[in-house]
Every structure is written in C-alpha cells, then in structure tokens.
Symmetry: D3
Subunit: 242 residues, 6 copies
C-alpha cells in the first residue's frame, strides 16, 4: 500500500484555482495534495534581444521555491547569489513544455513570462508547475483574443505533466515526497491533449529500471494526464468567464 | 478624500492568518488590503559562526518579493544574482525590529529565521512583514515553551509596524500604493506593545516635511499600532490553541 | 560625562576642507573628530538609461570604507565581490538627502555622482558624508553656473546631517564610536537650512526608547545642524572663490 | 538519406583512446565522428562535507566546452562568471549516470571527480561524455584495485549513452549537429551493460512525438549502446594493461 | 645537471601542429615537452563597443587551464564563478604580445579572439601560449588575405616567448615544472622576429637576483626565441598551404 | 623636454608621511608628484588556511583606486562586483615585492595585510604603492620588535620601486600620467637596498624596444631607487621614534 493510501493509478487531490493575483494577465494556484505552486503569466510587449524583428513571440518560464517550502529550510537563492542547477533545469523544462503548444508566430512580437513559485513542496513541483502554468498562460492569451489584441489564439493544444515512479518495486502515479525520496525510479511525463509526447525524463535512482517498468510508468502517466486535461479545461473556462 | 475612501486615521482591512504552512515552526499570512505577505518562522539548532559558544541565540530575517507581486513584473532577484539594496534594507529592518522584543539569552543557542515573502504588493510590505513576522515568531517560540524545550518564553513584548505619510498635504495612516507613490512624505514606525519606539524612518519624498507634520504622523502610527496589537494577540492565541 | 568630555549638546571638532582633489568638479574632506570622509562630486554629461530624454538630471551617491578605516580591518568590498547591505543603505540615504535640495530640472540632462569614501571611521560616517557631500556638490554646481553652463543654480537649499543617541540614559549629540557602540538608542537626522526634515532614522539598540527621549534627540539635532549650516556656507564660499 | 550518408541504425566512427593525460588517475579521449571530448578521472582522498564520516564515497562530474569547440565562438563560462543552465544540466546527468554503476560503499571515503571537456563539438557531447567517462573512471578504479588500495572493485556494471532523434520524420541513431539542429525530436539514453535503463530524456523539438516513434528510438539506442559496450571493454582492457 | 638532462641552453622538444580544429579560422596545438596548449584564433566581424567606428580592429586573448591539466586537480574557474588573478594576468599578457605585431588599422573593424586552453601543464604555459597563438593568428589572417578579404596582411612581425630562470644558481632556458617550482628566479621574455623586446617579466622567487644573472637569462631567451621563430615559420607555411 | 620640466634622471617630488591612520599598526601616505597612495599595514594573528601550522607567517597586499582618483570617474569595483584584472595584477606584484624582503619564519604565524588605496592618480601608482608599503610594513614590524612580540626583526632588506619609460624616444625616470599615456615603452623596477632585483616588468607600448633602451631604463631605475631608499630610511626612523 502507498503511504498516502492511494491506489497505484490514483492522483492526489488536484485543484487549479484561477484569478489569484490582481496584476498578472493570467494566474493559477495549482495544488497536488500538499504541493502548492503559484503560476503567474505576464505578457510583455517586447521580446528578448536575439528575437527582435523576427515577427515571432516567445514564451519563457522562471521557477523558484520559497526557502521554507520544504521540511527543512533551504537557502534563499537570491541571497546565495545564484539559481541552483536544479532550478535552472526545471525552469528550462517548463518553458520548453509550454512553447510546444504555442504558435509563436500567432503570438506576434510579445513575450509571455511564466513565474512558477513553490509555496509548499511535497513532491512533483515541476509537473504541477507545468500543469498550472498552462492554465495561467491560456487565460492570459484568451483575454488577448477576446480584447481583440490577437486575431487567432496562439494556443495549439493543452499540455500537462505528471510524475510516476517505482516505489517498493511497484510503478505508481504521482509520487509525493515520501515516495519520491525512496523510489527505485523516478520519471516525469509532459503530454499534450492530442496524445503526443513533449518530454520524458526517467531516472533510475537506486537501481536501473527495466523496459517493462518503463512501459507501465508511461501508461500511468497517460491515465494521470487524462484527468489533468479535464481539470485544466474547466479551470480555463471559469477563468475566461470571470 | 483618500483614493480608497478611508478616513485619515483608518487602516486597511488587516488579517493575520496562522497555520498556513505545514513545515514551518510558526507561520502567518498577513494582509493589509491587497498587500499579502507570507511570514514563516524556522527554528534552527545552530547559530551563525560569530555567535557560537556565547550561550545566546539569534533572530534574523530574509525578505523577498515574487516577480509579479507588482503592477509590472520585476526582475527575479535569484536570476539577477543579487538582492537589491531595497531588499537588504528591508530585511535588516525586520530582523532588528524582532530582536528588540526577544531575550536572546532565554532563546539559548538557537536561531529563528523569518522569511517574509511578498505574494502581492500594494504598499506597506515592510510594515506588514514586521507585523506578521512577530506572530509567526511568537507562535514558534510559544510551541517551544509548551513542548518544554524552553523554560521561559524569550518573547518580551509585542512589536508591530505601520506606515504613515503626507498625501495631498494631509497626514494619513497606512498608505496604499497609489498614495505611497504620490506622497509628499513617507514614514514607517515600529512600536512595542508597551509603548516604546523601536524604529522610526521618515523621509521627505517631494519636499521636506515639518515638525508639526511629523508629530501628527507619529500620532497616527500609535493609533494604527494599537489596533494591530489587538489583532496580533488574537492571532497568536488562536495559533497556540490549534 | 561623555567619554570625550563633551557636553550633551556639543559637536566634535568639525572641519570641511575643499579643493582636495585635482580632478573632481567639487571636493570636500570632512572631519568630525577622528572621522574623516573624502567627498568628491563628479559631473557627467549623461544620465542613467531610465532617465534619458526627460530633460531632467540626476544626483546619486556611492559610499565606501577603506578596509582599515576601523579598529580591526574589515573585508574589502571589491574583493568580497559585493557591497554590504549597510553600504547600500547608506549610499541610498546620501543620494536621497542630496536630491531633496536640488532642482533636477534646472540641472538639465546631467548626472552628479558623489563618492563618499571613509578614510578613517569613529562613528557618524553617514552623517558626515551627507554634510560634506553637499559642499562638494554645491561647489561643482556653483562652478557650472559661473562658467555659464547652467543658467540658474539647481541648489535649492542646504542639507546637513548629524547623529544623536541615548548614551547612559542621556540624550547626546554627535556620537563617536565609543558612545555609538554602547548607546541605548541611535538616530540620524537630515535637515535643510530652511528648517524642514528630509530624513529621520531612529533605532532602539538595547531597548525601545520613549517619545520624550525622541523629542530631546530631535532638539539636539537641530542644534547640531545649525552649526553645520554655518560651516558649510563658509566652506562653499571659500571653494567658489578659489 | 542522412546528411552523413549513414543508415538509420549506424553510429558515427567511435574511438576511445586511453592514457591521454599524464597526471589523471584515469583518462579517455572519446570521439564520435567530429565530436571530441577529453574525459579525465581524478581520485581524491576526501569527500564533500555533507558526506564525511558516512564510510561512503562519491562520484561527481564537471562538464565544459572550449569556447571555439563550435561553429561560432561561444562565451567562455569562466569569463561570464557562471556555468550556463545547459552545462549544469549535463554535468548533473553525467554524475548521476556514473553513480548508477558504482558501489559507493566499496569506494570508501574517496571522491572520483570526472572532468569532461569538449574539445570539438558536432552533436552528442553529453552522451559521448558519459561513454568516455566510464572508461576513465573504470581505469582509475581498476588501478586502485591492482595497487591494493581497494579490496573489491566498486564498478558494478558498464554504463554508456547515445542520442537518437526523429530527423525528417525518420528515427535515426546518433545525431550529428546538422541532424540535431533540424530534428523533430531529440532523445538521450543511458543504459547499463546488463540491460537496465539509467536515464531517458526525450524531447519534442518542433512537434510532439508519438509512442511508436519513441519505441523505435529506444530500439536504436539499444543497438548503439551494444556497440559502445564492446568498445568500452576493449579500451578499459588496454588501459589496465598499459 | 637539469632534472630533464638538458643543457642550460636547450629547449624542450617543441612542436607546433596546425589544422587541429575544424571550425576555428586558425589553430595550433603547441607543445613544449609535456606542456600542451590548444591555441585557436576566431575572426569576428565586430569589435568591442569602445572601438566601434574607429576604423581599427582589435586582438584579444583568453586563457584557461583544464582542471586536471596539473598534478593535482585545480578548481574549474567556470564553477568557481571567476577567473583567477593569475589567469587574467596571463591573458592580458598574451593579448598585448600579439597586438604588438599587428597593424590594427590594416585589420579593419574586425576582432581576432585567441583562445589558449592548457590541455596539460608542465611549466611555461604562458610562453607556449604566445608562441602558438601567433601561429593560429597568422594562419587566420593569412587566409583572409588569400581570400581577398584583407588587402594587406596586418601581421607586421613574428612574436614568440620563452621562460628562463635561475635553477640551483645556474641560469637555464625553458623551465619545466620541476625546475620552475624550485627556481631562485623566474622570467618570461616576449621577443619579435626583428629583435626587439615586447615584454620582459622577471621575478626573484626565493631571493633577489643580480644584474649579471639577468643578462645571462636574457641571452638564453634570445637563443630560445631564435629557434622558435624558425619553427613558427615552418608551421605557418604548412598551414597556409593546407 | 619633459612635460613636467624634469630632466630624464629626475624623480617627481616624493614624500613619505607616516602616522596617518590612528588604527593601523603601520601607515604611510606616499606621494610622487600628484600621485597619492595611502598604505596601511595591518597585523593579524592568524594566517590563511593553507598556511596554518607551518610556523610561518604571510604578507599579502590589496590595492584599490578611489573612483575619482583619475581624470574621468571610473567604476567603483565594489559596485561592479569584482576587481579588474589590472587591480589583481598590481596587488599580486605588491605582495610579491614585500615578501621578497621578509623572513616569513621570523614573522611567526602572523599575517601582515597591506592596503594600498590610491587617493589621487597621476601615473606610477603601483611603484609608489610598493615604496610606501615597505615603510608601513617596516613600521608595524618594528613596533612588534620593540614591544617584545618578535625577537628578531623579520625585515631583511629595503624594497622600493620606480617606473621608467621611453618618451619621445628618450628613456626617462618616473613617468607621470601624461608621459605614461604616450610612452613608446613602459617599465617597472622593484629593487632591494642591497642592489638585487626583485622584479622587472617592461612592456613595449607602441613599438618593441631595444636592448640598449632597456639598459638605460634599468640604469635610471637604479638612480631613482637609490633616492627612494634614503627617503624610506628617514621615514621609518621618524615613525619608530614617534
């Protein structure tokens, strides 16, 4: 049995609350159980220097964790004077995942900056970030469409992410911290609403894992993302009505 | 009339919610109108190097603002590679204010680290931080007392803070961002429950201000802090019961 | 009695020597007893990027302390790779204080950069810096007027600063290091020649302080600044004649 | 047809030259076509601070690219003052991959530091690094065994890595730069000699990719790694004889 | 006798291999015995900001050492976040030495960036770098002439460098690491093909040295550079034919 | 004729004023014409980590230039976040020069830190720094001897430095800024009182220079240093009597 009493195919309670910041063009507070990430989308009218005069836009993401989001307090990255390798790895993944479902030409010379700040961490912060960030971004761009700023919506598809792992030799969906820190293998899947794969990251932690295990992990990811797509749609609809 | 329709002596709606983080030893989400700061107190069993073997403890604070806490997105300090002068000034003030009401000997060789992270900003983030940080710290230390780790409570007094300013030539209490960015003078007061002054910072923004104006600003601060002390007591009581 | 045998209302010996650097547009070596700060004003024909094409000028300040300005050698900030929070706090204060008495429009698109470098420290370096910086800046701008570069003098008023504190429970003027490091309360006052307040910073060090104590500290600051304004005028006059 | 005239299942010419540095405990210059990486293993008698007194050892890796390893000169990271997110991501991957096949207890309180420096880049530098790094590490540890410093060889298995991608809609093995920069999907596989998976990283570049494509990419990786394992064995044998 | 069995006037085996990088406009792998430095010349079509619109070009150099180029592994400068004082000193010297023999006007608004990366170090890395860098630079500029991009060759002369030192009280040519780390005096000479001096750096290590010793060291440097000029010419000729 | 009307063999007016800082163990304000450097020696009871328990001491130096020490204001290194290559090169030279005349064993496990801060610059700041630093250091160590802390004086000899250059094709002694910035060759000589050479740095600026020119420059340096040794002795004597 899992420490959280879930079945292997069961997600934690997932919520996607929109309208949580009065300034950002799109916002979503995503929770996966005790994991809580604030995702804010800012639309800026200029693009990075290397992209100017290309007629295209850009989507980028930054990720951070509050120092006491975790069991023991971590060092504040701003005080340390740099972002850790882990932070950079995660924010690059979030940006890549979102760009995979955006038509950068339709966006025009605009930049969407997504800030994913982890308020509380209990495993799966990067996949929760991607899932919530899509809602924040789609809200912001949806508003630009309804305001007539954009003629066509640059959002091509949904994108969501979930982690899966081998815990006590059984593949399970959506690891919490207790499972994650003891898993034999850990993996993250970023999938689109139309069923294609955007990113797979799978790592053997204590031992290598087998192809059969991988296939089951992938199957669990598909189950999890199917649920997340439904929740994203509902959240976006609510946000655009508000 | 003030942009927010308040009287000169009126605070914004202030809330102090405790128990908002499952890991921190003490926590308080403080709001002053649209300003929202998450204050978390972490108790660590070691003190900074320069303090070892003195038998005393230490209280320190770090302050940060989420990039999109403000109207337009600011640069993430972790990405910029350093904390701004403003950030450092504020976190030094928070630390000083809290240490003024703590008996560092009674604390023993422990460090309390307070993280004040601004989730949303609408003026007065440093004074809200101090007010909320005291609740988080007092909660954490109150628990150490009830657990028997500390024999006497190191908390000597309450401390709260509020800003006042001269807006359209009238002294008013608790400036929001609209007032703050147009004020003739801006000031912050850190006062204790027993009526002493811990810190005054008063600055002429567009012009110097007069002694008479200062006296009125100080009077408003006393009115505001009196309300805050009542709210702090209620919040702490609720937190320690929980 | 004070360690320096002064009365509570007595400044240390204060000198303001001008013409101490052959390149700077204005210069002043200010001493308050053993505290010695070299204040140099540089006039540059361009303003910071965010200010271009506004028709206005800017005044900014940088502060530094030579490593062995103090009893025990401190770390060189250039070697440490960053300015301390204290340094940034002080240089922001100096810049704000000077801008309070300058008409930035009359200055035109020029920047005055003030460098305050502490050659020797014995308490009160930030207030000495402000006092000397005004002389350096006024010298530089006075020359621009007499050279016909500026039509009207952008200097609107004098500004000077002094520290006061509660030492052995008695409010005293112009703390030296020995008093400063043992004071119950420490405060800095930045006042203009016409009697308005530019900045007050008052901090309880060992204990909170009372309103009555604050009122006496403020009175002492007025006494001290009155003397400083006379000395500034004489120094400026001498500098402009030279 | 591929730009390099290879079949989809064909690796570039791969060489693993050992004994290429006179100081390092193990060394391997690995080439995959025009990609050339110098992998050096240094054995140190102390472990990172957080690992002291655990009786275990550690394996870590650093990665760098000479500024003109690429078509146009890149900025030197030492001059820029920091390692890019990409660099950190890669060196974390190399370290993780090597640790997956080392018994850290058998290593004792020693650290193996692997330096992978890219002398010339033509795609696949991270997978070449892992493949060569294993040879360098196994050489160093093999020597420690034959010198009697270690009783048992901490190397548990071989580990090698290869990239595969979808280029012009066909899955191909071992992308060179021309393919890599135009691929629809790009992926890296780190596999062990005994057939388990250590790491999979698969990314859709221009579009998401399908599960069928992924399965073929994985199959190609197994074909490629089988060849690499043979070459690693031969190179290690030669190195230990020398 | 010298540890390497050389006579006092004898260089180590010196090789200058060109064509060692497929992207750089000029390249040379220089070896002095076990010292091995990769020198790559990159030609860029823009100059540093302070030089724009002057009609002149610029030559600059960067220097680095692979972490395990030495007996014990050194810290990677990119990971440390800055270049050491020694590195900066050396790269400034290389740049100055090369500029001494280049007509910057004839170069036009172009920049030649020389990267000298030490693959293996056994003393004399800075002098080997200068010697090899000249070959790389001259190759790159020779190609620009033969391609008709430049009308006249900006190379005015050859430049080469060698170290000499006082080892066991005898002046010797071209110190290796064993000699260098025990020398009484160490010196570097940068000379031109036409016999002028570009740079002398001579340092007493364990003791001051005499004028007579200096004169002998200088004589040895002239002997060494004469050999190096012959080898440079041959290497350049080969490179331009290729 | 030289711009300053000096003969080729003539130093600028040189003064060495001691007792200029009330905290430093040794101090010397050195001027060479308009060049003014404050040299302070601090004696610390601990040595750098890599030197602990060797029974030896260490001498090190730091160099800085006030931002407006020069004609146009330079950037403050502490604000820039790093020391320039030039600064590091100079402070390494000063440290090396002083260590050449100190018996580090006789010093015991103590460190002398020399701070050379340029108050005003008109050429020759590094050589003035060395010349003044010796006085500051010798004062500090002389006091330790007279206080009985040290049994033997670790100072083995005097060390002084001067620059020489080829200006308008004539070798001249002690370049000021006007000469320095137009010189054909520039060189610095660090010599000991007993006539040995500690360091020579000679650089062709606009052209290579000849051996004959070098010989004359060296001769001028000997003339200059002879004068400096006399002045150093007098300054030290005065300082130790005070």
């Amino acid at each position: 049995m899992r420490p959280s009493d879930r079945t292997p195919e069961q997600l934690r309670a997932v919520t996607l609350e929109t309208g949580v910041n009065r300034y950002a063009e799109g916002s979503c507070l995503v929770t996966f159980g005790h994991t809580k990430v604030l995702c804010l989308a800012s639309v800026e009218d200029k693009v990075p220097g290397w992209m100017r005069n290309t007629g295209q836009g850009w989507v980028t993401a930054e990720y951070g964790m509050l120092p006491r989001a975790t069991h023991t307090r971590g060092r504040r990255e701003a005080a340390a004077g740099k972002q850790s390798g882990r932070t950079q790895e995660i924010q690059r993944l979030i940006g890549r995942s979102l760009r995979a479902v955006v038509d950068l030409k339709a966006l025009g010379e605009r930049q969407v900056v997504i800030d994913c700040d982890v308020i509380q961490a209990d495993g799966g912060t990067r996949t929760a970030s991607i899932t919530g960030a899509w809602v924040a971004m789609a809200t912001a761009l949806g508003h630009l469409v309804s305001e007539g700023v954009l003629k066509t919506n640059p959002i091509l598809d949904q994108v969501a992410a979930v982690s899966c792992g081998v815990f006590e030799n059984e593949p399970v969906l959506d690891l919490d911290y207790e499972e994650d820190s003891n898993a034999e293998a850990d993996s993250n899947y970023v999938l689109t609403g139309s069923g294609t794969i955007v990113e797979i990251q799978a790592t053997g932690e204590k031992r290598g894992f087998s192809r059969a295990e991988f296939d089951r992990l992938f199957q669990l990811a598909e189950i999890g993302c199917a649920e997340l797509f439904v929740k994203q749609k509902a959240a976006l609809e609510a946000a655009l009505k508000a």
